[in-house]
Amino acid sequence: MSDRRRLAALLPAIVAAAVLAVIVRAVWSLPPEAEGLSVAVSRVAAESGIDNKITVVLLDLRGYDTLLEVAVLMLATVAVLSLREDRDALYRRISERAAPVLAALTRLLVPLALVVAVHLVWVGAVRPGGAFQAGAVLGAAGILLALSGYARPQWVGRGAMRSALAVGLLTFLGIAMLSIVAGGELLEYPEQSRKTLILVIEVLLTLSIGASLVSLFLSSASEGPKEAGR
């Protein structure tokens, strides 16, 4: 091992140690107690009547963060879609592999998954849950359908799937803009229709997140390395 390589191996360790030292020193210096914004958030939560303070932060106080986060997810999906190997043969192989047992299981699980997803969306307003969790369940159902041959993997990138992927972000944006039309600022929900609007966003987000996960899964199908053994 040359000196250069040895140095190259040592450098990451030095950097990591330095980072560790810097963080530890900073953490150590912090006072043991700090309120942060918790009191202020509690006050707002009490006024708005939503118990889950994290939900208040995510959807109301910092709803704009969440809007951009939805954009991040859609963007990542689009990015992965742009990288996919689009070959019918590839998709056919996925469907053909479907085993009867899997198909039976799918028939059983998918309806259940749908119910769970709906439930998760609904309770999101009061308890842990919401669009991301529901979307994950929905996505799992979608993947099952594709693997068992009930849904065709070629649909990745087709019109309906694209619409499903985008509808969450578009709805979120639309409702955000709606509050402007109603005379408020962006994402300032009108008081009377607040709950309904948030529910609409959550439902359609669930659909988009589910579609995202299915797309992510299916678009990473490949035929393996072209030059195997290199």
Partner: protein, 499 residues
């Protein structure tokens, strides 16, 4: 409440919705959709800039909350300047890309299954969002949006080289984003605040944790801005990307993270609490100017030359920090110079990458040694490189000259004349690598047959020429830039630009 007050969000929401719509409409119609969105994005940006010029900084409390609980968008003069840069280059990229990428059909939807347009609008939206936000955590989300779209756009080029470059870029991006977020968490733990303007007053009494947090955030942003010695990921990524993407990356993306550095260093951090950080950034900047230029000088590929030139030109942006400490006229002159440099380099660098794309398409390669005779065969391309080159060298009447004049003036006024020496040396080095290229263009082409290129590709060469001309004549736009800079929070503090 008039619609004009919502201009900041329109500048973000319109391209974001446009991105989603372009995805839904599919590859064949998305170019048209993107063009329409580009226009609709540019309009609020220009109106916003006019409004800032007219009535000063605009604050927008998203959700009606405002700080410290909510997120505030701040469109001051500095932000407006960067928005305008993003808008102009963005529009150019859209127009250029329409001619650059082949017309999509069923068989060939274009690179990345025709998803360029969606990804590009995502990038535009996230850059606008990044520049407008005044919330340190929201910056993190915007940085991730920018990084994701950038990596995806780089890998639209087929082949292992682009994938490798894209992955390097992605890993650098992940390291940067996570370090930034770590910094935010320490800063929040120490102050309980995320809003930049509120942080600015809270930080008048800094603590170990808040200083560490800010240092981590800035270090992360330096990685994203590719300041030497953290530039390793930039040249390959910018060179491997499709040319319209290279233009956006070099002209806009590095400026986006630099903008946040500017905000943090000059707005959020109280003056006088920078420690040695300001000098250190200046030294890195000087090193970048020298190292980037020397690397550009030895490159054999056109796009790599242009990419290393970005590494060098980014260095100039950081000379403002050691000068800022002097305050008053020195700060105002250096700050204005930095703004002008960001604008002029953005225009010129975009034009160079776009022109390099046409070179690639027309001549089938970008080996500098084999580009003799470009001045005769493709005079528009040669003119583009010449005009943009004048900006790189900082010769009049380009924006680069105005920037150098202002920064060198600030440096001499402050007594720290060595920054002026760096600026002058950087101009000479830029002349060396640009004239190496231009001399090749001027050389006799020999007898090699002229390659034929489709007319729609050749026509795209007017877009970079327009950008290059704008950067060449930018000194005459400095009065407007000055007005914008004076509407920025930094110069408002020192009472504007002294004549």
């Amino acid at each position: 409440m008039s619609l004009l007050e919502h201009l900041p969000v329109l500048a973000i929401v319109v391209p974001l919705a446009g991105a989603a719509m372009a995805f839904v409409t599919g590859p064949r119609r998305s170019a048209l959709e993107c063009a329409a969105t580009s226009v609709l994005t540019l309009v609020p940006v220009l109106l916003l800039a006019a409004r800032v010029l007219d009535s000063g900084p605009q604050r927008y409390a998203v959700g009606g909350w405002g700080g410290p609980l909510g997120i505030v968008l701040l469109a001051d003069g500095t932000a407006a300047l960067f928005l305008v840069l993003i808008g102009i280059v963005g529009m150019a990229v859209t127009v250029y890309a329409a001619g650059y990428f082949p017309t999509p059909d069923e068989e060939h939807p274009g690179p990345g299954h025709g998803l360029f347009w969606t990804l590009w609008l995502f990038m535009w939206a996230s850059l606008n969002a990044l520049v407008l936000t005044a919330d340190v955590f929201n910056v993190y989300v915007c940085l991730e949006l920018v990084g994701l779209s950038a990596v995806a756009l780089v890998t639209l080029t087929e082949g292992a080289e682009a994938l490798r470059a894209g992955m390097r870029y992605l890993f650098a991006s992940i390291l940067g984003a996570m370090t930034y977020l770590l910094g935010v968490s320490l800063l929040y733990a120490s102050t309980g605040l995320l809003d930049m303007e509120m942080l600015s007053s809270a930080l008048k009494t800094p603590s170990v944790a808040s200083s560490t947090g800010l240092a981590l955030m800035i270090a992360a942003l330096l990685l994203k801005t590719a300041l030497v010695p953290m530039h390793f990921w930039l040249p390959t990524a910018h060179a491997a990307a499709p040319s319209p993407v290279s233009a956006a990356l070099s002209a806009l993306v590095v400026k986006g993270s630099f903008f946040v550095v500017l905000r943090l260093m000059l707005d959020v951090m109280p003056p006088g609490h920078l420690g040695g950080a300001d000098t250190l950034l200046g030294v890195f900047g000087a090193a970048a100017i020298v190292w980037g230029s020397v690397q550009a000088l030895v490159q054999t590929r056109l796009k790599l030359l242009v990419a290393y030139s970005t590494v060098a030109q980014v260095g100039y942006l950081f000379l403002v920090f050691p000068l800022a400490g002097a305050g008053g006229a020195v700060l105002s002159s250096a700050f204005l110079g930095t703004g002008v440099h960001a604008l002029s380099h953005g225009l010129a660098k975009a034009s160079m990458f776009l022109a390099a794309g046409v070179v690639l398409k027309r001549f089938g390669h970008d080996r500098i040694a084999d580009l003799a005779g470009v001045a005769r065969r493709a005079p528009v391309l040669a003119a583009t490189f010449a005009l943009a080159g004048v900006t790189m060298m900082g010769l009049p009447p380009s924006g680069g000259f105005a920037a150098k004049w202002l920064i060198a003036g600030a440096s001499i006024t402050s007594g720290d004349w060595w920054w002026a020496a760096v600026v002058v040396a950087g101009g000479l080095l830029a002349a060396a690598y640009m004239f190496r290229l231009l001399a090749t263009f001027m050389a006799s082409p020999g007898d090699a047959p002229e390659p034929a290129a489709p007319l729609r590709v050749v026509r795209t060469e007017w877009v970079p020429l327009a950008l290059a001309t704008a950067s060449f004549l930018l000194v005459f736009a400095v009065p407007v830039v000055t007005q914008l800079a004076e509407a920025g929070s930094v110069l408002a503090r020192v009472g504007g630009v002294a004549p």
